[in-house]
C-alpha cells in the first residue's frame, strides 16, 4: 500500500536542514531570554517555539506533503479549540486576578 504521495516527501537533505534550523532557533531563544526585552520576551519565546513546532509538524511529521485535507485540518482545529478554552477562561481570570 502506497503510504506517501507521488512526490517522495522528506528525505535526509530536508531533515538535516530542518534540524539545523531548529538548533539555531533553540540557541536564539536562549539568547533572547538573556536580553532584556521586557514584555516582549514572552511573545518572543512563544513565537520562536511556535515556529520550531511548525517546522517539526510540517517537515518531520510530513504535513507539508500530506494530501488528505482532514489531516491538515486536525491540528488547526485542535489548537483553535484549546485557544477557545483558554480564552474563555481568561474572561474570568483576567478580571479576578489583579
Amino acid at each position: 500500500m502506497e503510504s506517501k504521495g507521488a512526490e517522495k516527501p522528506g528525505g535526509p537533505g530536508v531533515y538535516l536542514w530542518v534540524w539545523g534550523i531548529l538548533l539555531f532557533l533553540t540557541a536564539l531563544t536562549v539568547i533572547a531570554a538573556s536580553l532584556h526585552l521586557g514584555r516582549a520576551t514572552v511573545a518572543a519565546s512563544l513565537g520562536i517555539a511556535a515556529v520550531k513546532s511548525a517546522l517539526v509538524v510540517l517537515y518531520f511529521m510530513h504535513l507539508r506533503w500530506e494530501k488528505r485535507l482532514l489531516l491538515k485540518l486536525l491540528l488547526p482545529i485542535t489548537l483553535a479549540t484549546l485557544a477557545i478554552f483558554i480564552g474563555l477562561t481568561y474572561s474570568d481570570i483576567l478580571v479576578r486576578y489583579k
Binding site: M1, E2, S3, K4, G5, G10, G11, P12, Y15, L16, V18, W19, L22, L23, T26, A27, T29, V30, A32, A33, S34, H36, L37, T41, S45, L46, I48, A49, K52, S53, V56, V57, F60, M61, K67, R68, L70, L71, L74, L75, I77, T78, L79, T81, L82, F85, I86, T89, Y90, I93, L94, Y97, K98
Partner: protein, 203 residues
C-alpha cells in the same frame, strides 16, 4: 470478514488518521496544564521568574537539543525504512532510543537536584515559599513529569518496533506502525519545545 472495505480516500492508511486524532487528544491533555500554567503565571509573574532561576538552563538547552536530534534520527529511520535499508533503519532507531534515554537521565538528574534543595511538592521548605513559587514548582513537576512519562512510553514503543523491524514485520511495504510511532515521538518533541522556554527562560 466479507469483501475488502473500500477506503473512501485511497492512499491514506486509516492508521495514520487514527494516530493524528490521538495526537490531537494529547495536545488537549497537555493543553489543560498549559491553561493552568498561563493563569498562574499571569497571577504571579515575579514569583515565576524568580523560581525559574532555580532551573539549570544548560541542562534545559541540552535536553532540548537532544530531543530535537532524536526527532531527526527517527525521521531518518523511517526514511531508511522506506528505502528498504534495514541496518540503517535499526541504527537510526537505536540512536533515537539512546537520545531519548539521555533526555530521561538528564531530567532525572535535574529532579534529583531539586529534591536535594528541598524543592518538591509538600516539602516544608517549598511550603514556606511564596504562593507563586509553590505553584511554579507544582506545575514544573506535574508537566515535566507527565512529559517524561510520555517519553518513557515512546521509548518502550520504539524499542518494541525496533524488534519488529528487525524481524521484518515492519518493512517498506508495511511501514505504518513505525510512521505512527514517529508521529508520536515528534509530538513529544513539540511539547518539550514549549515546556523549555515556559519553565527555563522566564524573564
Amino acid at each position: 470478514m466479507g469483501g475488502p472495505d473500500r477506503e473512501a480516500a485511497p492512499n491514506v492508511p486509516r492508521g495514520r488518521v487514527g494516530m493524528w486524532l490521538f495526537i490531537c487528544t494529547e495536545v488537549l491533555l497537555f493543553g489543560g496544564l498549559f491553561l493552568l500554567y498561563s493563569a498562574y503565571r499571569y497571577h504571579h509573574p515575579v514569583d515565576f521568574h524568580e523560581a525559574s532561576l532555580e532551573l539549570n538552563r544548560f541542562f534545559g538547552t541540552l535536553n532540548t537539543s537532544v530531543l530535537i536530534t532524536s526527532s531527526l534520527s527517527v525521521a531518518l529511520a523511517i526514511h531508511a525504512l522506506g528505502e528498504n535499508r534495514k541496518p540503517r533503519t535499526l541504527a537510526f532507531l537505536a540512536v533515537t532510543l539512546a537520545l531519548g534515554a539521555t533526555f530521561l537521565v538528564v531530567k532525572g538528574f535535574e529532579w534529583g537536584e531539586k529534591f536535594a534543595h528541598g524543592l518538591y511538592p509538600n516539602s516544608p521548605f517549598l511550603d514556606s515559599q511564596s504562593k507563586g513559587k509553590i505553584l511554579y514548582f507544582g506545575l514544573y513537576f506535574m508537566m515535566t513529569g507527565l512529559h517524561a512519562l510520555h517519553v518513557l512510553v515512546g521509548l518502550g514503543v520504539l524499542s518494541a518496533f525496533l524488534r519488529l523491524v528487525a524481524k521484518g514485520r515492519i518493512s517498506a511495504e508495511k511501514p505504518v506502525l513505525l510512521e505512527n510511532a514517529g508521529l508520536y515521538w515528534h509530538l513529544v518533541d513539540v511539547i518539550w519545545i514549549f515546556l523549555f522556554p515556559l519553565f527555563y527562560l522566564i524573564t
